[in-house]
Amino acid sequence: MLRNYLKIAFRHLAKNKSYTFINTLGLGVGLAACIIIGLWVNYELSYDDYHQNSDQIYRVLNGDVAAIPPTLAPALKSDYPDLAENVVRYWPVKSPSDIIYEDKQFAERNITFTDPEIFDVFTHPLVMGDKKTALSSSHRIVISESMAEKYFGAENPLGKTMNMWGQDLEVSGIFEDVPLNSHHRFDFLVPIDLLQTFMGNMMQNWTWSGFYTYIKLPEKVEPAQVETAIASIFDKYSEEDFPAPQLQPLNDIYFEPAEKDIASTGNFSYVIILATIAIVVLVVACINFMNLSTAYSTMRKKEVGMRKTLGAQRNQLIGQFLGEAILLSLMGLSVALILVEVSLPFFSNFTGSPLTMPYEHSWVTILGFAGFALFVGTFSGSYPAFFLSRFKPMSALKQSDRTASSGGGLRKGLVVFQFAISIFLIVAALTVYSQINFMQEKDLGFNEEKVIITGAENYQNMKAELEKMPEVQQVSAAQGVPGQRFPFYPIQTNEMAPDSLPTMRTLRVNPGFIETLGMKMAMGRSFEEQIPTDATQAFVINQAAANYLGWDDPVGKEISWYNFSEDGSSFEVAKQGEVIGVVDDFNYASLHNPVEPLIMHVSQDINMAIVRLNAGSDQQTLAKIRETWNSVTPGSYFWYYFLDDELDRQYGAEQKLGQVFGGLTLLALFIACLGLLGLTTYSTQQRTKEIGIRKVMGAGVKQILVLLNTEVLKMIGIALIIAIPIAWYAMNQWLTEFAYRIEIGFGIFIFAGASALVIALLTVSWQSIKAAVANPIDSLRSE
C-alpha cells in the first residue's frame, strides 16, 4: 500500500514539474529563512546562558541603575556571610590603556578590575593557573587565551610580568576567551585590590557609583531576602537616600539594560519582529502549498473516485495526501538545508553572531528538523487532504468541469492574504529604511565629519604641534564627545530650594570645543581662552537645560556645580559661576531619546583630543598626526577614531534590522509570486477552452490579457485595502520609539502598492501572454 502511495506521489510530482518546483522552492526558501532567523533568535536568547547555575546569579541594581558603590560588596559579605558568600564586582576600564610585555605594547580596551570570587560566581574556566589564587593578591593579572597568544606566542605566560598603568603585574592565569554571547566581555582581569592603590579613599565612598556587583545566591535563598539585606546595609552605612535595591536575574541583563549599563545590549523587540517575520514568510510558503495542491487536486479527482469505488476509506485517503504533503515538505527541507549551508556564513558575518547549525547534536538536529518538516507538511497538507478526500466518488469520476472551480474563492482569499502580507512588509521595510536614513542624515547640531578623536596625553604640547599642521583646522579637548553618555553631577541655582540637588549631565571641555565640533550658540558666547574667568566661573548650558531650569534669558544666571569632596565621602560645591551662553541642542546621545539637559564647563580634567581636519586626504593627515603623537608623547599608544564612523555604528542595530527586514520582505514577495505563478498556470490551464472560444469569437491578444489580469488586479487591490491601514498603524507604533522620526508619507504606500502590482502582473503575464497568443484550435479540439 505504502509503495503504491509513494509511487503515485512521485509520479504526480514528476508529471507536474512546475507544481513540484514551485512548492519545493517556496517551502525551501521559507524554511531556510525560518531556520536562519531561528538560529539567530536562539543565539540572542542564549546570552549569559553558558554560566553554570545561571538562574542563581543576579546583578544588584540601585533602583534602575546598574552602577553602584564599591562599598556594597564587602559590607554585604561581612554582614551577611550566609547570604552573600559569592559576590563579585566588575569595574571596567572605560578608556583604552596600554599593556606592556617586554617589547610588545598595545592599547587595550577590555580590561576589568574584579574580585577573586569571579571564578566562583561565573563560569570562566582557567586553562592555566589556579582559580583560588589567580587574583588573590593585588599585583596579578589574568588574561584570555587569545591575549596570551598575542603577547606571549608559544611562551608559557604563567609567572611572566606585564605592565599596566606603571604597575608590574604577574600573569597568574589564563582563562578561556569569554563567549561572544556575554553581556560583558573582557580580555584582562586585574584584582580590585590594585584599584585601591589608585583610588585611595574613593573605594570607601558610598556615593561613588561605578561598580557592577553580581551575586550568586545559595540554594533556597530568595532574591527578596538579599534585597532586604542590601537595603538595610545602605541604611546602616550611608547617609544618602538610596532607591530600593533590586536583584536582576543574569539572563535578563542582555535584553533589559539598566541605567548606566555595563556593555552592549540586545533589543528584544527586534528579536520578536524578526522571528515574527520569519514565521510569516514560512506561512506564505505554506499557503502556496495549500493553494497549489487544492488547485491541482482537480486533476486527481479521478484517482480519488477510483480509490473510493474500490473501497478506500476517507481517512486512508487523508493519510495518503498528508503523506504526499510531508514528502514534499521533506524535499523542501533538503532544499532549505542546502540554502542554509550556503548562506549561514554570510548571515553570521553580517550580524556578527557566530551562528552554526547544531550538527554536533546530530540526532537532536535530525529529529528536530524532521519534526519541523512533519509539522509544516501536516499544517499545509491538511486542508488539501480533507478537500481531496471529500469528493463523492461518482461526481469525481464524471470529471465535470464545474466542480473544478470550487475552492477558488478560498484560494483567491489566500492569495489576497499573501499579498497583503507582502505589501505590509514592503511598507514596513521602506519605513525602517527611511527612518534609518533620516537618522543618518539628520542635522545632529554639530558637524561630525572630518573629526578625529584621539587621546589627550600631553595635550597642550600636542595641540601646539597639531595646530602647526596645515591639514588641521582646529584642535580642542573634552572629557567626552558626542556618542558617549556623559555623567550626572548635582547642580543648584538660586531659584531652587537649598536642599534640592537635581543632577544634570555634565561635560568638561576646553575652550574651542563648541567651535571645533561646529555647534551653534543660541545665546551669549562660548568659552574663550583669553578670558581667565571662563576657566574658573563660567558655564555653557544647552537649550534643553535652559528649558529645564525654566530660564528664558539664562545668560548671567548663577549655577553651583557639585563634585566629590576631597576624601570622596560626599558631594560639595566644586565650581560656582554664571551662565555665559546657551548652545543649540545637539544630539550627543541616541536619536531614540530627546536631547537631555547638559551643562558644560572648562576643566583640565580631559581625556580626549578633538581634531578637526581641513579638506584633503584623511589617511595622510592621520599618518602625520600619528608621527606627531609619537614624538610628543613617546612610549604611549596612539589610538584614534573618526567621529562620523563611531556615530554611524550607533545605528548599526537599526541598520541591520532594516537590511534583514528588507531581505525577508523580498523573500516573502518572491514566495508569494511563486504561488501566484503556480495558480495562474493552473487557472489559465483551466481556462484554455474559454480563451479559445473567445479568440474564435474575435477577441484579440490585448483583450485576453485584460481578461486574465483583471482578476489579479482585483486581488492586489483588496490586499492593498487590507494591508495599508494595518501597516500604517504598526509602523507609526514603531516610530514612537524614536524621539526624532519621519512621518510616513503617502509615497511609501503608493510605492508598495505599485511594486506589488507590477511584480504580480509580470508574474501573471508570463502565463497569460502564453495563453493569449496560443492558437485557439489547439484548445478547442475536443473531439
Binding site: S400, D401, R402, S405, K689, E690, G692, I693, R694, V696, M697, G698, A699, G700, Q703, N775, P776, I777, L780, S782, E783
Partner: protein, 227 residues
C-alpha cells in the same frame, strides 16, 4: 467568395512530411450551402479551420472576397474574421461561467458594439431562436440541442457572410439535428453562405452542394461507398 488554389497542409516530423491536405482546389460562391463530407482523418476540420482563418495553409493560394488571405496582415485577418465569419462547433463551446445571454453577447463585445445596440441585437436573436425564456440560464443547465441553438445564435449575431459549422449536429439526436438544419436552411435563404462538415447524408441533403474529401484531397465519388 472563396477561391482555393492548390492548398497543401502538412506537418513536418523527423524528416517525414505528413500531408493533411494536398492540392485542394475549391470555389465557393456567395449564397451557397456547402457540405464537406469524408471519413475521419480526411482533413475536413483542417480545411474548415483554414477557411475560417483559424489555421494557415502550408502552401497554395486562398482568396476571400477577392483578397489573397495568405498575404493579409494579422490585423486584417482578425478584422475579416470578426466581421465576416461565424463558427458553430460540434461540442458547442459555450462558456460555462456565462449565461446564455452573455454567451450570445460576447462576439459583439469584441466588435465594440455599443451597449444599447447590443441589447437590441441580443434580444432580437433570442426572440428569433425562441430562447428568450432561457436567457439567464447557464449552458450546463440546457440540453445539447438547446446549447447548440445558443451556439448558432452566437455565431450569427454579428450577421456574418460566412457560417462555418464543424459537425454541428454530431452530438445531437435526430429531432434536434433537424431543428438546427432547418435553422441553417433559413439562414441560407436569407443569404448567408454556409459551409458545414458532417458525416450524415441526411444532414448533407439540406445543402445544395457536397464536397467529398478523402486523404486530404477532393474526390468526385462518394467516399463512403468504398469502405
Amino acid at each position: 467568395m472563396i477561391q482555393l488554389r492548390n492548398i497543401d497542409k502538412y506537418i513536418d516530423k523527423r524528416f517525414q512530411r505528413t500531408f493533411i491536405l494536398k492540392g485542394i482546389d475549391l470555389d465557393i460562391e456567395e449564397g451557397e450551402f456547402v457540405t464537406i463530407m469524408g471519413p475521419s482523418g480526411a482533413g475536413k476540420s483542417t480545411l474548415l479551420n483554414i477557411l475560417g482563418f483559424l489555421d494557415d495553409a502550408s502552401e497554395g493560394e486562398y482568396k476571400f472576397l477577392g483578397e489573397p488571405v495568405h498575404n493579409l496582415s494579422e490585423k486584417k485577418k482578425s478584422d475579416y474574421h470578426k466581421s465576416h465569419i461565424g463558427f458553430v462547433f460540434q461540442a458547442y463551446h459555450l462558456i460555462d461561467e456565462l449565461t446564455v445571454y452573455e454567451n450570445i453577447e460576447m462576439p459583439l463585445l469584441y466588435r465594440k458594439v455599443k451597449s444599447k445596440q447590443r441589447k437590441a441585437m441580443v434580444a432580437d436573436i433570442l426572440d428569433r431562436f425562441n430562447i428568450v425564456a432561457k436567457k439567464d440560464l447557464f449552458p450546463p443547465q440546457l440540453s445539447g440541442g438547446q446549447q447548440q441553438v445558443v451556439g448558432v445564435a452566437r455565431a450569427i449575431i454579428g450577421s456574418p457572410k460566412l457560417l462555418l459549422a464543424d459537425e454541428p449536429t454530431g452530438n445531437l439526436h435526430s429531432e434536434q439535428s433537424e431543428q438546427i438544419m432547418e435553422m441553417f436552411k433559413k439562414l441560407n435563404d436569407e443569404g448567408v453562405t454556409i459551409i458545414q462538415v458532417t458525416h450524415s447524408e441526411k444532414m448533407a441533403a439540406y445543402g445544395n452542394r457536397i464536397i467529398n474529401l478523402k486523404d486530404g484531397a477532393v474526390v468526385k465519388e462518394n467516399p463512403y461507398e468504398e469502405e
